[in-house]
């Protein structure tokens, strides 16, 4: 591996001082003269016709500057891929929490008071809340006009199952015919909220013909374009301004109230700020989807898997508009990194009268990995095999296809699993009611469009400009490290400039573990461009051809391998008084050719009298490529695992009769500092990654297998198999009781 100075070493984050002194600006901190507050009224019915909305009293309240309803902006559809969502409900509401009216007033209290004065008359319609109900023959069709929405593909017959994919490989029936045993299970997973601590926030100010937006969006260009589409104005009349984002985990790609905020600003003629409170976040955010997953696998007595049938159903809620692709992927993870020749993977996306789902850390991943990796354990147990040995037998190796038919370079599943097992003491003796379980996941980093500019000034200024808004994962610091490395300077000298939209044509933003992959490529490219710019300046100063100059990794410019004066590029700029600028764009398509594995091991104790599960230890082994910033990388591992623990054991955005009932952090519990287990991390570095610094993604991988590892450990401890998340003490208790 190449030796680096800054890349690969713990580097203090570029946003450190801002964030630890309270000076970092987030959307809610943005102050403007004359700014007023916007608030939204949410539906209290899951499915109803709106007979009448009376805003008379609200409008008359002193201090109220604007009141809008769906009638005011009829026809303006919103959505990321499938535009199925009115900005404010028109004629009908489809979930409890749907936005139906909005108010802007001088202060937040007045806005809230005005909302209380709006009268809505509903006429209830039949509603469906879960997947089976919604697909039933008599189910009310939630979107009869589905085929007319921009971004949708018309259906053959009206259905709440608005999107279905089937992926066949080999001969499924023949595979099942070959099997000695066919094992079938159904797993369900709950809704999970991203629970970033910064709620969705938007500030809109319209000045002249230009719309300025401050919003916590991790995809600012897509946000700008989405708003432009909905309003019907050119994208270049909108600027989304750079800000820090207070946590994302997939949820900050959908700026929930942003279009409403625009209309309130337009109507009131004032800048408007909308800060969701956490009640609104839980009621009408864009949570991780609840799913139902049926797995059926054919296996021979010798442990060979012959056929595997995945049926993946997604409870999408009332709209598809919050999903970047209109659907949730992840179904392939329910096939897995195993050698199975005959597979069928079916995925059905289902509308229900519940809060629409959005994206969260590997959309579909933790759900399907929970199902598959629980199922694999169940198959192993059914055959009387140790789940570790059974996996070792069936994991696909280098050059082989996985069960979904994908082939990756240098597959390291077995090495990762083995390293995890050793670190976890998997084979060690254990006491009564103690269990160990494992789960394996893999994820190949996604692609996207990225860009960066480096500006070097004679006074020693080094600035990296980026269209990415820092949402916490440290992408800015990655860029900075690479530029410092390639220009051979102390990273503390590099300044970072986060751009407003419009600085470049487009940018993909953050998502799909693409951050490090795209940023490292772009960072490398822009550094090379900057080096070339410096060489041009050197050549010009010496009145020679640029090709005669080279830029060493020590930051020294050489002419035909001789050091020339001024020796360093910094001195060159001082001497010439010039500014060097490098700009690079990169378009990286598709999934990375290398995938990164995570093998996780949970050790639990279970109290059979209460069902209480205690996590005694957690081990996470990762096949990583090169790690650019060890502190940041470990932070992703730790954070991913703890979110996974929440998903596995405590978090559930409860929906009862279509109504979210966990409306505060008092009821929706996420792990606290008191809930974290001792953690062991094992990294298996290699040069098998992608891009100039051979990287792999880590943000998603650390999160997906956690729930399955814990479920398998619980089953190992007491023989009780919980197939429905979260694994609460009550579920374990009931499962134990039902087994007698």
């Amino acid at each position: 591996m190449t030796a680096y100075q800054t890349v690969g070493t713990a580097t203090a984050r570029v946003d450190g001082v801002d964030k630890t002194t309270g000076r970092a600006e987030y959307a809610a901190d943005h102050a403007l003269p004359g700014i007023i507050w916007g608030k939204v009224l949410h539906s209290s019915r899951p499915h109803a016709r709106i007979v009448r909305i009376d805003t008379t009293e609200a409008t008359a309240l002193p201090g109220v500057r604007a009141v809008i309803t769906g009638d005011d902006i009829r026809g303006n559809l919103y959505g990321r891929a499938i535009k199925d969502m009115p900005v404010l409900a028109v004629d009908v509401v489809r979930y409890v929490g749907e936005r139906i009216a909005a108010v802007a007033a001088d202060d937040e209290a007045t806005a809230q008071r005005a909302l209380d004065l709006i009268e809505v008359e509903y006429e209830d319609l039949p509603a469906v809340f879960d997947i089976e109900e919604a697909l039933g023959a008599d189910a009310p069709i939630i979107h009869p006009a589905y085929g007319t929405y921009p971004g949708s593909k018309p259906l053959d017959a009206p259905s709440n199952g608005y999107h279905r994919t089937v992926q066949n490989r080999g001969d499924l029936d023949a595979g099942f015919a070959e099997a000695d045993e066919i094992i079938e299970h159904i797993y369900t997973t709950q809704r999970q909220h991203q629970a970033y601590l910064e709620p969705h926030t938007t500030v809109v100010a319209i000045e002249g013909g230009h719309t300025n937006v401050w919003t916590n969006s991790k995809v600012p260009y897509a946000t700008r374009d989405g708003l432009a589409f909905t309003i019907g104005i050119p994208a270049d009349t909108i600027t989304v301004h750079a800000l820090y984002i207070g946590g994302d985990f997939g949820g900050k790609g959908t700026p929930l109230n942003m279009p409403i905020c625009y209309y309130l600003a337009r109507e009131s003629g004032r800048p408007v700020r909308m800060v969701s409170d956490y009640i609104e976040e839980f009621l009408a955010g864009n949570p991780r989807h609840a799913t139902l997953i049926k797995l059926r696998t054919g296996v021979k007595r010798d442990g060979t898997m012959t056929a595997h049938h995945v049926q993946f159903f997604v409870n999408c809620g009332a709209y598809a508009g919050y999903k970047p692709a209109g659907v949730i992927g992840g179904a392939n993870h329910a096939a897995g990194p195993y050698r199975i020749p005959n597979t069928r993977v079916e995925a059905t996306q289902v509308y229900t009268n519940t809060v629409p789902g959005g994206h969260m850390r590997t959309p579909g991943g933790p759900q399907t990995v929970f199902a598959l990796e629980s199922h694999i354990d169940e198959i192993a147990r059914a055959l009387g095999r140790d789940p570790y040995d059974f996996r070792m037998q069936n994991l696909a190796e280098d050059g082989e296809q996985n069960a979904a038919g994908e082939t990756f370079a240098r597959v390291r599943a077995k090495e990762t699993l083995q390293a995890g097992a050793e670190a976890a003491g998997y084979a060690q003796p254990k006491g009564l009611h103690i269990g160990r379980g494992m789960a394996l996941g893999d994820h190949a980093a996604g692609g996207g469009h990225g860009s960066a500019t480096v500006t070097l000034t004679p006074d020693g200024g080094i600035t990296v400009g980026t269209p990415i808004f820092e949402q916490g994962t440290g992408t800015h610091t990655t860029l900075l490290q690479i530029v410092a490395e390639e220009l051979a300077v102390d990273p503390e000298r590099v300044h970072l400039d986060s751009w407003d939209t419009g600085a470049v044509d487009t940018d993909s933003g953050i998502g799909g573990s693409r951050g490090t992959r795209v940023a490292s490529t772009v960072g490398h490219e822009v550094a090379q461009e900057t080096r070339r710019a410096l060489l041009r300046i050197a050549a010009e100063a010496a009145n020679r051809h640029v090709d005669e100059f080279t830029f060493g990794n020590d930051g020294v410019i050489r002419h035909n391998s001789n050091i020339v004066a001024p020796r360093s590029w910094g001195d060159l700029l001082v001497a010439t008084g010039q500014t060097a600028v490098g700009h690079a764009e990169a378009d990286i398509e598709g999934r990375a050719s290398a995938t990164g594995f995570a093998a996780q091991f949970a050790e639990v104790s279970v109290d059979p009298e209460t069902g209480e599960v205690k996590l005694l230890q957690f081990t996470s082994a990762h096949d990583v490529g090169m790690v650019l910033n060890p502190v940041g990388h470990q932070g992703q591992v730790n954070g991913g695992i703890v979110q996974g623990i929440g998903f596995a054991m405590m978090e559930e955005l409860r929906v009862e009769d279509g109504r979210v009932t966990t409306l505060s952090f008092g009821d929706y519990k996420i792990p606290s500092a008191g809930d974290i287990p001792p953690l062991k991390t094992v990294l298996l570095p290699s040069d098998d990654g992608v891009g100039p610094y051979v990287v792999k993604g880590i943000g998603e991988n650390s999160n997906t297998p956690v729930a399955a590892a814990i479920a398998n450990a619980v089953a190992d401890a007491i023989g009780a198999r919980v197939r429905n998340l979260p694994i609460t003490s009550e579920r374990v208790y009931r499962t134990l009781k039902s087994q007698g």
Binding site: S44, R113, L115, D116, E119, V120, I279, L283, T661, L663
Partner: protein, 148 residues
């Protein structure tokens, strides 16, 4: 929020049916209901005061009552507390069944829907309260026939 409750009272089905025609009298047995006054077309106006710990609200509203020949009694109402901005719409259906000539079973199914912040947040508090109100109504109703 749905509630189901079966109440057995010591009275003939006919007596119960007759009593249920007197809406203000029935309403008077519901704890917290005040000022029930008939308006046009089988409709009534009234107030419901509820207090649960620090929460206190007064819902002013209007309800209509119908009674079928078999004694099935249906109420639909809507009201609002202007101060808190809480709205409630309620439906109640009570079916009568003769157990013995001197005992009647009242099977009541109630459905309450709240809007505003009370609908979003107050449900657990209200649910418990509604349960105990229904219980108190049951006792009051039984007591009414016992002393009648």
């Amino acid at each position: 929020m749905k509630f189901e409750h079966t109440i057995t009272v010591d009275a003939s089905i006919e007596a119960v049916r007759t009593f249920f025609q007197d809406v203000p009298a029935v309403a008077a047995l519901v704890p917290g209901i005040e000022d029930t006054t008939p308006v046009d077309g089988g409709a009534y106006e009234g107030k419901l005061r509820i207090r649960v710990g620090p929460l206190a609200f007064t819902i002013a509203g209007r309800a209509t009552v119908e009674q079928d020949a078999d004694g099935t009694w249906r109420m639909r109402g809507e009201g609002k507390d202007g101060r808190i901005g809480a709205g409630v719409s309620a439906s109640l259906e009570a079916q009568l069944r003769e157990v013995t000539p001197q005992t009647t079973e009242v099977q009541a199914v109630a459905d309450l829907q709240f809007s505003g912040r009370l609908g979003e947040l107050g449900q657990p508090l209200i649910k418990r309260k509604a349960d105990s109100m229904l219980e108190e109504f049951t006792e009051n109703l039984q007591e009414h026939f016992r002393s009648a």
